[in-house]
């Protein structure tokens, strides 16, 4: 199989994007819940902030991460000419 240098670059950029988004996922999930007891002292609209992040904030960020990944990769497919027909 012929994998051109340009296609390798596509894959490397994919890996980099994956790593960055995974790091955000990790911070939002584990670092934030680690500090949840302290964050609970901040109260917004009645929500203790640590509770809010685990109940809703992190979920919104997950949706955005997936949406951003799909959009970036779908564009990159075209840029590197590996997109599907149509």
């Amino acid at each position: 199989m012929q994998i051109s240098e340009r296609m390798r670059e596509y894959w490397r950029r994919n890996l980099k994007l994956t790593a960055v988004l995974l790091a955000i996922w990790f911070v939002v999930t584990y670092v934030v819940s680690f500090f949840a007891p302290a964050l609970n002292n901040i109260v917004i609209l009645g929500f203790p902030f640590g509770y809010y992040m685990a109940a809703q904030g992190s979920l919104i960020i997950y949706v955005v991460l997936i949406w951003y990944y799909a959009r970036t990769m779908n564009r990159m497919d075209r840029e590197y000419n590996v997109h599907e027909e149509g």
Binding site: G46, Y51, Y69, N74, D77, V82
Partner: protein, 581 residues
């Protein structure tokens, strides 16, 4: 011929929004008609039966309408499910009795610590999006063992995949059937065992004839019912308590009221305080196992084979999580409002004058009242609510019209049946496609393969119903076990198979085997035999040891043995690019 088919397929896809739009409108009219009926004096039992029969009948009708004898239609719905509809179907497939019935109940009991389930069951989709969905779609076969068999050349990896897929899916399906039994026995007033079989009949009519195709279009219909059913009582409570019909924002106020009431009632552990029922290690471990399990459960991963392209597979993960998010950001609100209502209205009332729901739920064994100090007034400590009763009983606790209780029950049934559908299909496909067709008899005719798939579907459903009737544990616990099993068995082999060309058959086979066996051992030892826990880890997060063990063993054994052949390495390259020109 081919052109005629694809033109018909185009028209079919174009009509989908209209069809489901009319369907949603029809369902709302149906609810309003029943509400008017209730006001005119229809008995509760009639309303319960109408909801059950109408919705299960509908699922059966979609199943009959989508019957098929085509292999690609039966296994992957013809690979033409648009991203948004696949998202909705995945949402219904995903949100089971555990999400609909168990989740808010778990939050009600555990407070902050229950949020491990909320984050775990949504954050896992980030892993699906980044590590699996687009690549599996590019690979483009029918099942997860298909991928393992192709990537790790040979039947051993495939067979371990089959065993793990069946074990995880079966554990999961038992929890769904338990949910079906709770709902039908309470709302139809029939014995638990009978309810289980009535519910299963609905599942079977659907998947039996049309396989993945029928299941997909039924699941879209089920999603619409379950999300309406979840939001209606919640908006009702939010409007009644806070005056604003946006529960997801307004329950912040309710959390404050709960904290104040807890002080008055003398509750030691506050609802919003982290790490009271789980310690921090168990909270994190559970979140991790649920996330990795999400990205390893075959019935979910299989869904990304059904989209028309890699691009749509990526989009579809986003839509899946969006539709799941709508329910998951509401569950903590549901729990908070329910908790507030119980503290505020139920506790402190006269035991002799408690409303009808207490008796009805006691009959099913999910509510217990004991007047310990004999003063005739209900204290908090004298009321035991089983977590599985919270969502279903809340409309009655709050005193909403019975039609809403019936609606919530229909929603719970939709959630349990849609997931049971997907799971039963995964199990029977593993046996008919992976085991029989790929290993035992590759010459088998299409007709024979599908006939075997259908017979197995019925057999597995009956066994699941039997195991559920033994009532071995609560819904949330059973589901957590399924996640740990799937996570430790599949995730390392799948991810390394895509991202590391050097991973070979010997490594994957040993890694999967150790991951699977270690998790099963820990789960049975700590969860069922009362054995000693490692580092105090609960059986709910049994996979926390198996997942890293799987990764380490695959890496070490692969490096010690020969690299995979050129054809396998080419396969890995090919799944990394949507098209290679």
């Amino acid at each position: 011929m081919a052109n005629g088919n694809s033109a018909r397929a185009d028209a079919f896809v174009k009509n989908l929004p209209k069809v489901y739009g009319i369907y949603t409108g029809g369902f709302i009219v149906f609810i309003i008609a029943l509400a008017i009926g209730e006001a005119l004096g229809l008995p509760n039992r009639f309303i319960g039966w109408t909801f059950m029969l109408a919705t299960v009948g509908l699922y059966a009708a979609i199943g009959i309408w989508s019957r098929t004898g085509d292999v690609a239609e039966y296994y992957v719905a013809g690979r033409r499910v648009p991203a948004i509809f696949n998202g909705m179907a995945t949402g219904a497939d995903w949100m089971s009795a555990a999400s609909f019935i168990g989740l808010a109940g778990g939050l009600y009991v555990r407070g902050y610590d229950g949020l491990a389930f909320i984050m775990g069951w949504t954050g896992g989709y980030v892993l699906v999006a980044l590590f699996l969905a687009p690549y599996l779609r590019k690979f483009g076969q029918f099942t997860i063992p298909d991928f393992l068999g192709a990537r790790y050349g040979g039947n051993i990896a495939r067979v371990i995949g089959i065993v793990a897929a069946i074990t995880a899916s079966f554990t999961y399906v038992v929890a769904q059937v338990t949910g079906v039994g709770i709902i039908t026995s309470r709302f139809l007033d029939i014995p638990f065992g009978v309810g289980v079989f009535i519910g299963l009949a609905g599942v079977l009519v659907c998947s039996f004839l049309g396989g993945m195709r029928a299941v997909t279009w039924t699941q879209v219909a089920q999603y619409i019912i379950l999300i309406i059913a979840y939001l209606v009582p919640l908006v009702w409570m939010s409007t009644a308590v806070t005056g604003v019909p946006i529960p997801q924002i307004m329950y912040g106020q309710v959390l404050q009221k709960i904290t104040a009431l807890e002080t008055t009632l003398g509750v030691a552990r506050h609802y919003v305080e982290p790490f009271t029922s789980f310690d921090i290690w168990n909270f994190m471990a559970l979140t991790f196992c649920l996330m990795v399990g999400t990205a390893a459960l075959p019935h979910i991963l299989m869904r990304y084979y059904t989209t028309p392209s890699v691009k749509e597979a990526r989009d579809s993960v986003g839509w899946s999580l969006f539709f799941i998010f709508l329910l998951y950001c509401s569950a903590p609100a549901y729990a908070a409002f329910a908790k507030f209502e119980v503290y505020n209205n139920v506790v402190g009332s006269q035991i002799a004058s408690l409303p009808n729901w207490v008796q009805l739920w006691s009959n099913v064994g999910l509510v217990k009242i004991a007047d310990a100090n004999g003063d005739g007034i209900l204290q908090l400590a004298e009321l035991t609510l089983h977590p599985d009763a919270i969502v279903l009983a809340t409309p009655e606790i709050v005193g909403m019209p019975y039609v809403i209780a019936g609606l919530v029950a229909a929603g719970g049934l939709a959630a349990a049946l849609s997931t049971a559908d997907g799971l039963l299909l995964t199990i029977s496909n593993s046996l008919s496609h992976d085991l029989y067709y790929k290993i035992v008899d590759p010459e088998a005719s299409t007709f024979r393969r599908l006939a075997i798939a259908r017979v197995l579907l019925v057999v597995v459903a009956l066994i699941a119903a039997y195991v559920a009737s033994l009532r071995l544990g609560n819904i949330l616990a059973f589901v957590s076990y399924a996640f740990s099993i799937a996570a430790a068995s599949f995730f390392p082999a799948l991810v390394l198979g895509i991202f590391w060309k050097r991973a070979n058959a010997a490594g994957a086979v040993l890694g999967m085997l150790v991951g699977f066996l270690l998790t099963m051992y820990y789960l049975l030892k700590v969860g069922f035999m009362g054995g000693e826990a490692w580092f105090g880890t609960s059986a709910l997060s049994a996979g926390i040891f198996g997942i890293p063990a799987g990764f380490i063993i695959i890496i070490v054994v692969s490096l010690l043995t020969a690299p995979p052949d050129q054809a396998t390495q080419d396969l890995v390259e090919s799944v990394r690019y949507p098209t290679i020109r």
